[in-house]
């Protein structure tokens, strides 16, 4: 984001939040009361394991781009549709322990082998192979950054002793220090985000996250990585439990290029774009299919979102109606548009009448929600309902024959063939929600190429969405963009992402307030991210529930 655009955004954001009341008076019928702390009750905390990307980002942010981060780490698992929720409920397997150990030693060796990193992290010259005081200084600095908090006395002592013992046996100070670094990196205090809260002096009946915990929460939310020195210092100065202190840091973090990485991580999780790595369209059927398609498609979508948020500061809804997008040669070929003159991505305007507008005109949506050889109106419809509108579609019942007829004389197109889903009451109860809207995109094949006909028969892309009729994909995308559930759904999902758990009853007030605010502020995502952090639901927690005693 350029400085100018950022300033522009900042002015708007301020108008939309701190100076919200003033801004509000300009709009008729606007009544915004700030959300009170005690209107919300957040659930007890859970440990959140660093995702693979968070682990990588954290190491690179601390030790530099040069460092090689081992790729084999505990895999991430989506729960309730989100890797971030999975990180709050899954654990570390035995295999994961092995992988983290190996990674820890590879990293510790790289850190201690680099003259530059040694100087950065060991602020003293060791006197001999063992030097307790020097080891202690290094461990204190490393500990603060790796565990995102100061070490306690016993922890510090244990690690220093480990470094000393190792140095003595190996006859080298830095070799010894590697073992303390390896211990820091394998500790649950590094691998999990430990955010447990403290009694809130202003509201003694609730817990709030501590200053240092807030530093981690903000930084992993906005940067998908560990806090930097300045954020930790702000936390140590107790600034992150005040609104002003928070705002200062949020602004600073959003101004950093790392925020783009954060936004990418958010939408990769929200739209399940990580699944594009395993795109399996049959290349013998789709001549444009190659291993390059999935990653290219993800990049297209993420560049679009980045540009929407940071360069243009536009309304979230334009993501679904925009006629401009970023394509490389791979995608240009699929979209049948002129390829960029240079390698890489270029901003392009698609001005044909194929209905290729917005996110739903992209391979990310069209191919990800299709079968390897054919389209699936059901999968496409489910994405619209579940991911964009937060409407849950029940799993199909078991013991039902789910087959659809083959193309024949009268039933050529998929619309004709899946008519059964909609004629049979039993099937229709759910398929009525997904198929009619999914069918709007039948003019795009399973890879996302435009087609006017299927098996020689014309494709009818018309239908209706919750009572509103549309004649083709362009119109449906517009209806989605203006759907009353679209904004509240993004708020809900972003809240889930930020907190690592599904919205609980005690947080509903916060959700509704944020959704109103999002709408009132014309659907600006950066404002929403900022408001989520300021929301009591992001800053509060509760005492752990003691389940049945063991």
């Amino acid at each position: 984001m350029t400085y100018r655009v950022f300033q522009l955004w900042k002015n708007q954001a301020i108008a939309g939040s701190t100076a919200l009341l003033a801004f509000c008076f300009l709009q008729p019928g606007c009544q915004t009361a700030p959300l009170e702390w005690n209107e919300v009750s957040a659930p007890p905390p859970t440990l959140r394991r660093l995702t693979q990307e968070q682990y990588r980002n954290t190491i690179v942010d601390l030790f530099g781009e040069e460092i090689a981060v081992p790729a084999q780490l505990e895999p991430d698992t989506a729960v309730s549709g989100f890797l971030e929720v999975g990180a709050s409920v899954t654990t570390i397997s035995s295999r994961g322990v092995e992988q983290y150990e190996r990674a820890a030693y590879e990293l510790a060796a790289q850190i201690m082998d680099s003259e530059e990193l040694r100087q950065q992290w060991v602020p003293c010259t060791p006197q001999g192979s063992t030097d307790t005081a020097c080891a202690s200084q290094a461990i204190e600095i490393l500990g603060l950054r790796l565990w995102r908090r100061s070490l306690e006395e016993t922890e510090q002592q244990a690690l220093v002793q480990l470094a000393d013992n190792s140095a003595e046996i190996l006859g080298d100070f830095y070799d010894g220090l590697q073992y303390a670094i390896a211990a820091l990196l394998q500790s649950p205090n590094f691998l999990f985000r430990v955010e447990l809260g403290e009694t809130d002096p202003d509201h003694t009946d609730t817990l709030r996250f501590t200053n240092l915990e807030m530093a981690s929460r903000i930084s992993y939310f906005l940067w998908n990585s560990t806090p930097d020195e300045e954020l930790l210092q702000a936390a140590l100065a107790s600034e992150l439990t005040t609104e002003t202190g928070l705002l200062n840091q949020i602004d600073r973090l959003l101004e950093s290029p790392k925020a783009q990485r954060g936004v990418r991580a958010i939408f990769t999780d929200l739209y399940q774009l990580y699944r594009l790595d395993n795109l399996a369209q049959d290349p013998t059927l789709f001549t444009h299919m190659s291993p390059d398609v999935g990653p290219s498609a993800r990049e297209e979508t993420l560049l679009g979102i980045e540009s929407l948020i940071f360069d243009m500061d536009e309304d979230y809804r334009t993501l679904f109606t925009s006629r401009t997008t970023h394509v490389n040669r791979t995608l240009a070929a699929i979209y049948s548009i002129p390829a960029p003159s240079k390698e890489g991505f270029a901003l392009t305007e698609i001005q044909d009448d194929t209905g290729r507008v917005g996110l739903m005109g992209q391979v990310s949506f069209l191919a990800l929600n299709a079968h390897p050889v054919s389209t699936s109106p059901t999968l496409r419809g489910m994405f619209l309902r579940e991911v964009l509108l937060c409407q849950n579609i029940p799993a199909p019942p078991s013991d039902v024959d789910t087959s659809i007829p083959e193309p024949s004389g009268n039933t050529v197109t998929l619309r004709d063939r899946i008519d059964e889903h909609l004629q049979n009451d039993f099937c229709a109860s759910c398929h009525q929600l997904t198929d009619p809207i999914g069918l709007a995109y039948e003019t795009f094949d399973a890879l996302g190429r435009y087609r006017a006909t299927e098996g020689g028969a014309p494709i009818d892309p018309s239908g209706e969405l919750d009572g509103a009729e549309f004649s083709d994909a362009t119109e449906l995308s517009k209806l989605i963009a203006n759907h009353e559930r679209l904004g509240p759904c993004l708020v809900e999902h972003l809240h889930m992402y930020a907190t690592g758990h599904e919205l609980t009853t005690g947080e509903e007030t916060a959700h509704d307030w944020l959704a109103d605010e999002f709408k009132r502020g014309d659907h600006r995502i950066l404002s929403l991210m900022r408001e989520i952090i300021l929301s009591p639901s992001f800053r509060q927690t509760a005492l752990p529930a003691e389940e049945e005693s063991e």
Binding site: T46, T77, T90, S93, A182, N189, V373, T402, E547, E550
Partner: protein
């Protein structure tokens, strides 16, 4: 007499070739490593072969029962090992079929319904491989080993949301088992001061877990307990480095597999990857690196393009009309892979018999008829003799749709594990399947 590692080493230096005072294997194997000296046979081993999306029951179920039966079309690939396997048909998985595929997977492998509370999907109790590993896994370097050919998260559960993710690359699997840290029979124990240092690091990490444990809620304590379990397992692996490796005649360090198996025409090299996995798993058993293996060939709902098929597997199960020749061809390919596993276990000599003799292998899926997600007439094959406990070479067809958990209970008991039941609620079985017991 109290034997310590020191007295033992002194004994060896004194020219004695007898290994005493070491854990069970070294202790009981005779000097050639060809059999347990006590005559009690080799250790019990458990294996799971799992594939997704089921079968076509009409083309799967054999004709005839007992020892005198004819393999069906889909089971043809198992012809050469027919005398080593038993086919169980007509059994039913007794869990509510709420989530197509995953309910069946949870039902057959854990004997319990899928937990869908809170928007997620998880087994609520350990899967059979981990129940078995609890008993068999304590003495080997790896408590259990999981692999997946078609990439997936596997179905090995220690508890809710607590899985053992499978290795997906043959090369990574090789590195893990036979890379640094593996010693072939006859190798000297490793004397390396860094092993002790790594263990002291793990001790420090365990202290961290312990301190954290006292500050978190009940559900996080369970998660940290699993972390601890993993650390203990790694400490155990390190301790093994300092011991004599098991003296087993069949154990040879295998060659490295290819670093990568790139897709061909956009299709996974399913068979090549699976066979590379299988060779390593079989040798891992022969070298007693583990006694529990899970071989996830493919996962529930997988839409993999199989060689020769015109659409993804899952889509075909639902959309292919008529008697589904393409689905049929896929099931046959999968059975060829199961045949490879059984054959390789059988080809590995151990003592006077083969590795398969001490194994209890379960092959199964997440549904029977994929098109309807049926949990009736479930596909189950058992291979191996489990040291003579299991009957081989028969087809048992349940006349009444008995509880599939009975088979699981028999398999667990066949390994010498004394448990009285498998599964919970309707799927709970308290008696095994006697027809399968020799």
């Amino acid at each position: 007499m109290k034997l310590t590692r020191r007295t033992l080493l002194q004994g060896m230096l004194g020219g004695s070739a007898i290994s005493i005072g070491l854990p069970v294997l070294e202790c009981f194997v005779n000097s050639n490593g060809t059999a347990f000296a006590s005559g009690t046979g080799f250790p019990s081993r458990f294996g799971l072969f799992f594939w997704g999306n089921g079968n076509l029951p009409e083309r799967w179920n054999p004709v005839g029962e007992g020892a005198d039966y004819t393999l069906s079309e889909q089971l043809q690939p198992l012809q050469e090992v027919q005398s080593l396997i038993s086919v169980i048909s007509g059994m039913k998985v007794f869990v509510p079929n709420e989530v197509p595929h995953m309910s069946g997977a949870a039902g057959i492998l854990s004997g319990s319904s899928l937990d869908t509370s809170g928007g997620g999907e998880t087994f609520q109790v350990p899967s059979v491989d981990q129940i078995v590993a609890q008993e068999l896994g304590g003495e080997t370097r790896f408590r259990s080993i999981e692999v997946a050919t078609q990439p997936s998260g596997g179905l090995s559960y220690n508890g809710p949301y607590n899985t053992n993710p499978p290795e997906q690359s043959p090369f990574a699997l090789f590195e893990r088992i036979f890379g640094t840290g593996f010693r072939a029979p006859g190798d000297e124990p490793i004397i390396d001061p860094t092993i002790a240092l790594r263990r002291s690091v793990l001790d420090a990490v365990m202290e961290d877990v312990g301190r954290l444990n006292s500050r978190v809620g009940a559900s996080d304590r369970i998660r940290l307990e699993q972390h601890l379990e993993g650390i203990r397992a790694l400490e155990f692996q390190l301790a093994k480095l300092e011991e004599d490796p098991p003296n087993l005649a069949a154990c040879v360090k295998p060659g490295e597999p290819f670093p990568e198996y790139p897709d061909i025409d956009g299709r996974l090299q399913l068979s090549a990857i699976h066979r590379a996995h299988t060779d390593l798993l079989v040798m891992a058993l022969a070298c007693d690196q583990t006694r529990v293996i899970s071989d996830y060939f493919s996962s529930p709902v997988n839409n993999t393009l199989f060689p020769g098929s015109s659409a993804g597997h899952h889509q075909l199960t639902h959309d292919e009309p008529g008697d589904q020749p393409e689905v049929n061809a896929i099931v046959v390919q999968i059975m060829e892979e199961f045949n490879y596993l059984v054959s390789q276990l059988h080809n590995m000599a151990e003592g006077d018999g083969t590795l398969l003799d001490s194994c209890s292998i379960l092959a199964t899926s997440d549904v029977s008829f994929g098109r309807t997600h049926s949990l009736e007439d479930f596909p189950i094959i058992v291979a191996g003799a489990a040291g003579g406990y299991l009957k081989q070479g028969i087809h048992y067809r349940s006349p009444t749709g008995e509880n599939a958990s009975q088979v699981l209970l028999t398999l667990i008991q066949s390994l010498g594990i004394s448990v009285g039941s498998f599964g919970t609620e309707d799927a709970r079985a308290t008696t095994g399947l006697s027809a399968l017991e020799a």
